[in-house]
C-alpha cells in the first residue's frame, strides 16, 4: 500500500503529480484549441445563415461593432441584403447571446438563440424555432408593434410559464433593432 509519509517525499510526489498533470493539460489544450475555435465560428456562421436572406459573402470577415454589439453584413454580389446583429444580454438563468437578422427594410428576417442558461423545458424553449414568441416576430417591423409580452400590454405571446425569458428575449430583439437603426443611419 501507500508508502510512509515524510516531508521530502510528500513535496516531491505532490509537485511531480502537479507538473505531470499541468504538462498533459497544456498538451490537450494546444491540441483542442483549434477545434474549439472552429466550433465557435461554425456556431456563429450557422446563426447568421439562419437569420438573414440568402448571401454569398463571408459575414464573419466583414463584421463591425456598434454599441458593443457585433453586426454581420450579409451581401449578395456586393449588395447588402440584410444585417445579422449579435446581442449579448442577460436572461432568467444568466447570460444569453442571440442573433437577430434584419432585411434592408428593417423587418425582422429571423431570430436565433446562440447560447443561454435558462431552465431546460421552460425558458430553454426559446431555442425552438417553432415557438410562437419567435414565429410571430418573423417578417414584422419592430417599429410597427409593441415589442413586449401581452402580460405587459405588448403585442407578443410569451412562452408559457417563462415570462421572464420572453421579456429578456424581446428586450434583446429591441436592442438589436436599435443597433440596426444606427447602422442604417450611418449608411
Amino acid at each position: 500500500m501507500a508508502s510512509k509519509s515524510n516531508f521530502t517525499n510528500m513535496v516531491v510526489v505532490l509537485t511531480s503529480i502537479c507538473l505531470v498533470c499541468a504538462a498533459i493539460l497544456g498538451f490537450v489544450y494546444s491540441v483542442t484549441a483549434e477545434p474549439i475555435r472552429q466550433a465557435e465560428v461554425a456556431k456563429i456562421n450557422n446563426a447568421i445563415a439562419s437569420v438573414v436572406p440568402e448571401f454569398n459573402n463571408n459575414p464573419s470577415e466583414e463584421v463591425f461593432e456598434v454599441d458593443g454589439a457585433q453586426v454581420y453584413p450579409a451581401k449578395m454580389d456586393t449588395t447588402v441584403v440584410g444585417y445579422a446583429v449579435k446581442i449579448k444580454t442577460s436572461s432568467f438563468g444568466g447570460p444569453m447571446q442571440m442573433m437577430v437578422g434584419f432585411d434592408n427594410a428593417g423587418n425582422i428576417y429571423n431570430t436565433s438563440v446562440i447560447s443561454h442558461a435558462d431552465t431546460p423545458g421552460l425558458g430553454a424553449k426559446m431555442t425552438d424555432n417553432n415557438i410562437k414568441l419567435r414565429t410571430e416576430l418573423v417578417g414584422i417591423n419592430p417599429a410597427s408593434v409593441n415589442l413586449s409580452v401581452k402580460k405587459d400590454g405588448g403585442d407578443i405571446d410569451a412562452i408559457t410559464a417563462a415570462t421572464i425569458t420572453s421579456r429578456s428575449f424581446l428586450k434583446g430583439v429591441d436592442l438589436a433593432y436599435q443597433v440596426f437603426l444606427k447602422v442604417q443611419s450611418q449608411n
Binding site: M1, I36, S115, L122
Partner: protein, 195 residues
C-alpha cells in the same frame, strides 16, 4: 472474485445513485431529459474509469498524507481534459451540462471509488470497477431523465409523444426530488434491498 461481478456490483449491489446515494447534485440537476442524463452519466464514467486506472497504478508511490490532494489533482486534470474535448467536439452537450461538468471533480462517486477501491486493487480490477460504477450511474441518470422528460414534457429521448406541455413541475426542482424518491423505492422493491 469474478471479473463480471465487479461490473454487476457497480450496477446493482452498489449502485451509486439508488444504493449509495452519492453524486446527487448532477443526478438531480442534469436529468431534465433522458439524453442529458445519459450525457452526464457517460461524462462521469469517462472520468471515473481513467481516474481509477491512474490512481490504482500510482497509489503505491503516493505518501499516505498527501493521498487526497494527489487524487483530487488527478481527477481535476481528467475533468479538464473532458471539458476541452467536449468543447471542441460536442459543444452542444457541453453547453447543456454547463456548470455540472467542472463539478464532476467534487462528485463524491469519483473520489469515493478512488479512496475505497482503486488505491487497494490492481489496475485491471479498478478499471472494471470504474466501468461498473459508471454504468450504474449512467443507467440511473438515464432512467430518471426518461421519467422526468416523459412526465414533464411528454416526450421520450426528444421524440414528442404527447401534445402540449405535460406536468412542468417534473422538469423543475420539486419533480426531480420526488421522481428520484419513487425510483429509489421501486429499485428497493425490485432488488429486495433495504437502505
Amino acid at each position: 472474485m469474478g471479473k463480471l461481478k465487479l461490473i454487476s456490483d457497480g450496477i446493482i449491489k452498489n449502485n451509486p445513485t439508488f444504493v449509495l446515494v452519492l453524486g446527487m447534485c448532477p443526478t438531480l440537476g442534469t436529468t431534465t431529459s433522458a439524453i442529458n442524463g445519459m450525457g452526464m452519466g457517460l461524462a462521469t464514467t469517462f472520468v471515473l474509469i481513467l481516474s481509477n486506472i491512474v490512481i490504482s497504478s500510482v497509489a503505491k508511490i503516493i505518501p499516505d498524507k498527501v493521498r487526497i490532494p494527489s487524487y483530487i489533482v488527478i481527477i481535476a486534470s481528467f475533468v479538464t481534459i473532458l471539458q476541452l474535448l467536449l468543447q471542441a467536439y460536442l459543444p452542444s452537450l457541453y453547453e447543456t451540462l454547463g456548470l455540472f461538468i467542472p463539478l464532476i471533480v467534487v462528485n463524491c462517486i469519483v473520489l469515493g471509488r478512488a479512496e475505497a477501491f482503486a488505491n487497494k486493487h490492481s489496475v485491471c480490477d479498478s478499471a472494471l470497477d470504474g466501468i461498473g460504477t459508471g454504468l450504474g450511474f449512467t443507467i440511473a441518470l438515464t432512467v430518471l431523465g426518461c421519467v422526468r422528460e416523459l412526465l414533464g414534457s411528454g416526450s421520450f429521448f426528444g421524440l414528442k409523444l404527447i401534445e402540449g406541455d405535460g406536468m412542468l413541475a417534473f422538469i423543475l426542482a420539486p419533480g426531480a426530488f420526488i421522481a428520484l424518491a419513487y425510483l429509489m423505492v421501486i429499485f428497493r422493491k425490485v432488488t429486495g434491498k433495504k437502505a
